[in-house]
């Protein structure tokens, strides 16, 4: 218990150290940064320190409590939280889709090696396709469906794109997890004449839990990143991604503003990954193997 508090204290110190480093460098460093070579074409190895490049930390924090766009608009933090809630919701849907799809792929690949050989390389390739390239495709298909088949809200497109990043770690992690039981366990199940589903339910799924949890956590972080980037690239309103883009517009005159959604994104990612970690806490029974294995 005390060691946990100590870890928290050191962790807090780490955050404080970064803040201190920021302010210290801002104070000591040259306004135009440190450039190797000519001022014009050289390589700037240390950043500029003026207020537009590196606002004071307290300015960034104070900005959170000022009106978002002046006048009677809500305080910035509230706006950011609004965006976070929207994006978190979408990311959660994307996560669920990604987990389901990833699990289906993993089950397929675990059951038939031919499926593994055929699919796995393409699953790896899929992650080298730049998200932004096909994000507009998804939204265009979405609006087509919306017009001709069933209502298809913008956020669903974003969720689908987010799931594209989320499914990957699940597919790979679950495949490893489902194949993780020792031959002896599979032999046992066979000796009991257990069916595929029984083996899955009693052996493979529980055994996959220690592999699945980190994969699900990674999937959560990926879903958030995917949702944010997808919002940017398909122009969905209301979420953090769009907010990042729009607030960057004001960076010249209001440099603290664009940092707010960045902080929001960090917190959002931590919340998402943390929720999955919490989920893991309910499955401790299935993680007993980890210690002994």
């Amino acid at each position: 218990m005390t060691s946990r508090w100590r870890a928290v204290a050191w962790g807090a110190l780490g955050v404080i150290a970064v803040v201190a480093l920021w302010e210290l460098y801002k104070w000591a460093g040259p306004a135009d940064g440190v450039v190797i070579g000519s001022e014009r074409d050289g390589l700037r190895i240390l950043p500029r320190t003026h207020d537009r490049a590196m606002p004071h930390v307290w300015v960034m924090i104070a900005r959170l409590f000022e009106a978002t766009s002046g006048a009677s608009t809500p305080p910035l933090w509230l706006t950011v939280v609004g965006g976070m809630v929207t994006t978190l919701g979408i990311a959660a849907v994307g996560w669920v889709i990604g987990v389901v799809v990833g699990m289906l792929f993993a089950l397929l690949m675990q059951r038939w090696r031919l499926a593994e050989w055929g699919l796995l390389p393409w699953i790896v390739v899929s992650q080298t396709v730049p998200l932004i390239a096909f994000a507009p495709l998804v939204s265009r298909i979405g609006s087509q469906i919306d017009r001709n088949v069933i209502p298809w809200p913008d956020w669903l497109s974003v969720a689908i794109i987010a799931s594209y990043l989320a499914f990957f770690p699940v597919a790979v992690g679950a495949l490893r997890g489902l194949s993780s039981p020792d031959a002896i366990h599979s032999d046992l199940m066979r000796s009991y004449g257990a069916s595929y589903l029984q083996t899955l339910r009693q052996l493979r799924l529980p055994a996959a839990v220690p592999y699945l949890l980190p994969a699900l956590r990674l999937a959560a972080a990926n879903a958030v990143v995917g949702a944010v980037v997808a919002e940017v690239s398909i122009g969905m309103r209301g979420g953090l991604g769009r907010m990042l883009l729009q607030m960057a517009q004001s960076a010249s005159a209001d440099p603290a503003l664009p940092w707010a959604p960045i902080f929001g994104a960090v917190v959002l990612g931590l919340v998402a990954a943390g929720s999955v970690a919490l989920l893991g806490a309910t499955l401790t029974k299935y993680r007993r193997g980890e210690a002994t294995a």
């Binding site: 490049a53 965006g83 609006s143 398909i234 309103r237 907010m243 517009q249 004001s250 005159a253």
Partner: protein, 366 residues
Amino acid sequence: SGTTPDTSSDSASGDFEPITDISLQLQWLPQAQFAGYYVAQEMGYFEEEGFDNVEIIPSGGDIVPQDALAAGDVDFAIAWVPKVLGTIESSGVELTDIAQVYQLSGTTQVSWADSGITSVADFEDKRIGSWGFGNEWEIFAAMAADDLDASSVSVTTQDFSMNALLDGDVDAAQAMTYNELAMVLETVNPDTGELYTMDDLDVISYEDTEGAMLQDAIWADTERLADDPAYADASVRFLKAIIKGWVYARDNPEDAASLVWDVASNAELAYPVGPTHQLWQMNEVNKLIWDGGTFGEIDSDSWDKTIAGALAAVNQDDQHLITTDPPESVYSTEYLDEAIAALQDEGVTVDGTYTPIDVTLTEGGK
């Protein structure tokens, strides 16, 4: 199941159900650049023309208006002419410019007063900022006219702030008179503690170069115009409504700017640039629209210049914007003429000039 328009459309033979719900795709965020459309919506001009629902869809550069229109996602789109020309040539769709809202180009290239960049010829070997995404063609067209090719400058993609200019990362930044130019003027000069002024800057306006191209126009689906009398009818009514909106914005710039700002800041999570900035923008935009001619009319000189520029421009990847003339269908005055005629019958004046007002910018445009 719509209400009958209270101005009967004479173009229609009446054998169609009038369209009551339409959507308009903008090419940027809600701001005074699009004041006419928001005024039309807020002042009830769309309803007067028989529309129950008009959805105005902003973009952030993320939605490409002409693509949305071609895909059938929206009924009308605002887009710059050269961008649409490019799309028409490379994808083969047909879109029609039914009203050339902006008569003049608002694009400028802004540099610091001491840097000696006062004409396009001075671009050589300089770092030139541009947003890319199709906004760069005026630059390359202007350069082509000065016999500079894209490899003679280094092009930097600007983000949505003017930091690249402020920090000297580019020698000349692309800026719209109505938006990014103001962003600079809303920033405090650390040397003086005051806002930057026009004296600090050299501004090259593309309108003064061979590169000038036509900008915000209203685009409609060509085939649909031809095949669907209801759509053609709606186009005319739509033009009538937005002309009324722009006329209002011309005559009441302050009201229009604050109306846009209200819409933008009430629209869910829109974080608009500030009210003073909107007023500046309204003022500048009016200058581009009302240059003395009739609203929305396509000036053939400007059009030809646009086409010539588009044919001449070559980008940093050696790609041309277009290589042949666009099809005939690329613009039509039919619907605008009809709308204007109808409006004139109603006593609306759709030509004239704008008397600029004085706008004093504040820090951050607040």
